[in-house]
Symmetry: C2
Subunit: 345 residues, 2 copies
């Protein structure tokens, strides 16, 4: 089977956006603040928002299952306070849960966390617990910059984040390190901030002993690892200069890269440079780049084509990238798939 | 000949660092503030700092000429005020000028600007004029983030920067877009901040009409363009989604990438994806990554080996990357080289 480890609910019904706008309006005018129960989206609306979009393209591309989380750019942890984020995350996660329940063969959830600038990450634990225990989610998205492009939180290696890591380790779930909208005019959200965050997170791990403290903690770096694989020699050289162990032992038991790189040459580099056990198939579809590449006639984000065409990969490598690695990195996904098979058997 | 467009004076005599430390101490204790004339470095000291370092490696690697500017990480435009940066830039530029005078065949200068957070970029113009007119410098380094990792200045496309661009256009000199030390704990200077800035600058150009306003303005994006070539499909797709012209016409008459990518696979991607006319040879030696790659037995930053081995390049492509492109992008370099030839003839 083919598992896409990076999908967001970018096509949610318009009522969700309208509710959020009301919530934001309520921050300055409390009389306009909506209640969570004011948002009503029917199952039919959810089905329609998925079946003509993500699911349609998954079926066309032969992707069986997507690890599905709330829209990354809408997390916007810089807006409001902890309570704002708590309500918003709960709503968004519940919608992803409902999508997974409506299409159980094709979607399984990953949680948005109710992060908020300055708030202790342990405040995210209750929502995480709820998503894992009640919704059956298999991962979380962790935003290393809840300030939205101002980078005001400590690095991911700081003990600041440890309460969250303890819970992740307890539940044996990985985090995709994924920022949200940039409210810094210097950074375009999907063209700069996302890629910068990926590179930044990797380097924060490289300079630290985070994985000595948490040997089973796992991070998935999205967007093909930002600049990292392209500059793999630089990072190997920096590790050496900084007296760190080789990257293979220092980071690659804990850090994984997805395949959201939207052209053949990029995927060729990724699959050549990064050990195959550290690559997870993903397309982030329908996401930042939705158009058709005039050079190929296919969608830029149709990453399966690049993996299928990557010359350095053998058949067994593709099996790892498409399925086996994801089942290893997301053990709760593996357990859910096994449980399904047993029910069918 | 082989021109390296990206070299910094990273090996300046220790007296320079000591002077800077005194200058910084003087910011809080004016009694300790040194005068510029307190710094004394002899020609012999300059010669020794170069001949056993950069020049030695240039000769070993067959690099003829380096465009040489003050140490990027030492610019630290976030320290002190405009006057601090003015004095510091003047000192650093003068040292590079003296190196170029001592080794005229092998070095030619590029200017550090006396940028300072919040200061109008037009305050940089007098130092730029001095460096071009008195020192014969052929380019400038432009720091898009004088705050040192907090990104508090407007994007490069903002009119904020236009007074500088007007002078660059008048003098027909390019800018290498190069940040300095990060004082944001999230960003490792050479492992994250440098690469992020490259990606950020490219995206600032992509989303703007900067080169419609300045059709002859030229930016060199160092470190192989950050994440850009690896994600070339993403950027092509974003340009399309944002209704910008194709990158070739929108940016590639004005934006160039250097070859500071420290492994073969990265340079292979760069030279395959980016048109050869937009690639400038560089190594940033002796810089961020000074060690020997145990996989090859050669220095990580010995980028000539990667260019020589890049399978997609023809002989005439290498000629462009090594020399012709630099002479086109840096017309004052070309003029200086022509003047030399005429003197010899």
């Amino acid at each position: 089977m083919i598992i896409d480890c990076h999908g967001h609910y970018t096509t949610a019904p318009a009522a969700l956006d309208a509710w959020r706008k009301q919530q934001i309006a309520g921050l300055t005018d409390p009389g306009r603040a909506p209640r969570a129960s004011d948002l009503r989206i029917s199952d039919d609306e959810l089905r329609a928002s998925i079946s003509g979009n993500q699911l349609k393209q998954m079926l066309e591309r032969g992707i069986d299952l997507t690890i599905f989380s709330p829209r990354a750019s809408f997390m916007a942890h810089h807006i409001g306070d902890l309570e704002t984020s708590r309500t918003w995350a709960a709503i968004c996660n519940e919608l992803c849960c409902r999508v997974a329940e409506l299409f159980p063969e094709h979607f399984i959830g990953a949680a948005m966390l109710p992060q908020s600038l300055g708030a202790d990450p342990k405040t995210c634990v209750p929502e995480l617990e709820r998503c894992v225990n009640e919704y059956g989610f298999v991962a979380v998205n962790l935003n290393p910059d809840p300030s939205g492009g101002h980078w005001k939180s400590p690095p991911l290696s700081d003990r600041h984040w440890y309460p969250l890591y303890e819970k992740m380790v307890e539940y044996d779930i990985p985090a995709m390190v994924h920022v949200s909208t940039s409210c810094n005019a210097c950074f375009h959200t999907t063209g700069a901030h996302y890629l910068n965050a990926d590179t930044t997170a990797f380097m924060q791990c490289l300079t630290s002993d985070l994985f000595r403290d948490f040997p089973t903690l796992r991070f998935v770096i999205p967007h093909g690892g930002g600049a990292v694989p392209y500059h793999w020699g630089r990072f190997r050289g920096l590790a050496q200069a900084l007296d760190r162990p080789p990257l293979e032992t220092h980071l690659l038991k804990n850090v994984f890269f997805d395949t959201c790189v939207y052209h053949q040459a990029g995927v060729d580099l990724l699959t050549k440079v990064i050990p195959v056990d550290n690559i997870l198939f993903a397309s982030e579809m329908i996401g930042a780049v939705r158009g058709i590449d005039p050079q190929t006639g296919f969608h830029f984000d149709d990453t399966r084509r690049y993996i299928d065409a990557a010359a350095s990969l053998k058949k067994e490598d593709r099996q790892k990238i498409y399925e086996t690695n994801a089942r290893r990195v997301y053990p709760r996904l593996d357990a859910a798939l096994r449980a399904r098979t047993e029910i069918l058997a």
